[in-house]
Amino acid sequence: MAYDYSRYLRNDKFPHIWCPGCTYGIVLKAIIRAIDKAGLKQDDTAIVSGIGCASRLPGYVDFNTLHTTHGRAIAFATGIKMVKPDKNVLVITGDGDATAIGGNHFIHACRRNIDITVVVFNNYIYGMTGGQYSPTTPTGAVATTMPYGNVDPQFNILELAKGAGATFIARGTAYHAAGIDNLVVEAIKHKGLSVVEIINACPTTYGRRNKFKSPTDMLLWMKDHFLPVTAFEKLPPEKTAGKLPMGILYREEKPEYTEMYYSMVKRVQEGGK
């Protein structure tokens, strides 16, 4: 029997706003399967987002949902988690939302290692506003605000997260949809700040300006440019040039922020200094 998504969806909110050919629906389904598999209760889970196409996702899912200001989802989520450390908090964000306007909140949440799961939908472009270059737009690609080809260097979101102290990083793609489930399940289970980057396609504002003839071409590009991390690591550098690894790329156990904070609270309340 096909998986029944309806119990996690706000079914009356469809159709969604995403364009034909957009891969966000694929990822939405994977996230629902993952939340189900991880056993999160809807009443005990908050899903927080910023601004952008990806950030519209919380409106479609039946949880405690919060659609905030541009870039600030992680900061709102931090307030929620600090006062309800036993609840589950997920952030859905995009490449521009997380790493441009929200870059400061992103790195500091990583540094604190607060137990929030951040899923970054990376489609390499500002889609909602019509195709302006983001910090992850490939150098040379065309965007409405880089009409002669992007001269900006690209952020690697996961290297950024790891450098800032994130204790769990993983990458998946909309093409490898079935693989996303496990990444998100493991990210949710991880005690600490986890970042899952999902590579997505925006045919409307990115693909058609960058020689992708169809949304399918964009999915096939994902197929060709992302390798399971185990295979990736075995290959010589010349065979991995221009490609990136997928899967769980890094995981470590470190003290989690709310646990640290509330153990301090306990110590103070017991008369310690």
């Binding site: 908050a46 200001t69 600090m82």
Partner: protein, 377 residues
């Protein structure tokens, strides 16, 4: 039992007032001259099981207190000058999403970095109009350390009662001034908590105004799963596009505060009954004005003081009534003339309005005010 007596700064009184009101989450960022509010909260919240966070910036602090409030905590942030500018976008979010929270603005000189250690009152219009779009706001303007304590409690009460951000604005002078304060006993001051829904989750709409303009508020994780957005939304909380409903909902937001202005507006009226000249002043200027009234009365000059403790919504009717019966209203301000514009608007040309403006980092003295009174008489 005798009340505890303390020698507190205004900033300390603000923090302890917040704790009295039940604040259990504070997020902030260091900035002069408000930092002591954060320092007291960092020390006191853990003792009470609450949480303090020094966030990465002012924007994050404002965001975090909104998140915490949605999760059920009474929450506050404190800032000054540039920090207040940075918080504005999320103050608008709290207004449209109707999330109770308290923002303390210890006012310094500006614009930009300005005079970080000097007093100012030049953010008073920013308190009203700092964030974009039509929005309701409440601003409280205490002037004495004891008053900062009790008005902070009132700020939380108004935030909770009206589901709205409330700004507490006082200048650096009263923020850093030390005065004797008696700490009210628990129960002595009223403490109001947000109204919860009395319907089951399946019948709950987070912005249901069918029973009044202030919708009951469920916290996250209490079984009422709903959506919160900064987009214009209908009673369900879900976005609506430009249509008649946006207009209706925006009007409700404003009406929520302005139809209840009598409950929110609060003034200290001193010797106004027979006054020929009135002073309209708040914060440090309100203190000088009171002294000026006492000095003038000793000389037989009939002046009085209207000192607003709520600046927004503005005491428009009170100012108009005053303008009808005095020769002049004097408005001393630590700015180059901001709140005088509101006094002029509300007095409708019924009396003379004169300002005393000062932004050199020094307070306006009672003598300055007295001189101006003599000039207009």
């Amino acid at each position: 039992m005798a009340r505890q007596v303390k020698l507190f700064q205004g900033n300390e009184a603000c923090a302890y007032g917040a704790l009295y009101a039940g604040c259990s989450f504070f997020a902030g960022y260091p900035i002069t001259p408000s930092t002591e509010v954060a320092e007291v909260m960092a020390k006191e919240l853990p003792k009470r099981g609450g949480a303090f966070m020094q966030m990465e910036d002012e924007i994050a602090s404002m965001a975090a207190i909104i998140g915490a409030s949605l999760a059920g905590a009474k929450s506050m942030t404190a800032t000054s000058g540039p920090g207040f500018s940075l918080k504005q976008e999320n103050i608008g979010f709290a207004a449209i999403a109707e999330v109770p929270c308290v923002v303390v603005n210890v006012m310094r000189g500006g614009p930009s970095t300005g005079v970080p250690t000097g007093p100012g009152q030049s953010d008073i219009m920013q308190c009203r109009w700092g964030t974009h779009g039509d929005h309701p706001i409440i601003t409280i303007t205490p002037a004495y350390v004891q008053e900062i304590f009790s008005e902070t409690v009132r700020a939380f009460n108004l935030a909770e009662k009206y589901r709205n951000p409330v700004i507490i604005a006082f200048d650096e002078i009263v923020g850093h001034m030390r005065e004797r304060i008696e700490i009210p006993e628990p129960g002595e001051l009223e403490v109001i908590d947000r109204k919860k829904p009395d319907v089951p989750p399946e019948e709950y709409f987070p912005y249901d105004s069918s029973k009044g303009d202030i919708p009951p508020m469920a916290n996250f994780f209490e079984g009422y799963r709903y959506h919160v957005t900064g987009l214009n939304h209908d009673r369900t909380g879900f976005p609506i596009n430009a249509c008649e409903l946006v207009h209706i909902e925006e009007e409700r937001l404003l009406r929520k505060i302005y139809a209840n202005r009598d409950d929110i507006v609060k003034n200290d009226e001193y010797m106004l009954d027979d006054a020929e000249v009135a002073v309209f002043a708040y914060g440090a200027c309100g203190r000088s004005a009171r002294e000026a009234v006492d000095m003038a009365r000793k000389e037989g000059i009939k002046i009085g003081l209207l000192r607003p403790l709520t600046m927004w919504p503005f005491p428009d009717r009170e100012v108009e009534a005053l303008a009808e019966r005095v020769k002049a209203i004097i408005v001393p301000e630590l700015s180059l003339g901001q709140i005088i514009l509101e006094v002029e608007r509300c007095s409708k040309g019924k009396c003379r309005i004169d300002g005393i403006f000062r932004v050199d980092g020094e307070p306006i003295s009672p003598f300055q005010i007295l001189d101006k009174v003599k000039e207009v008489l």
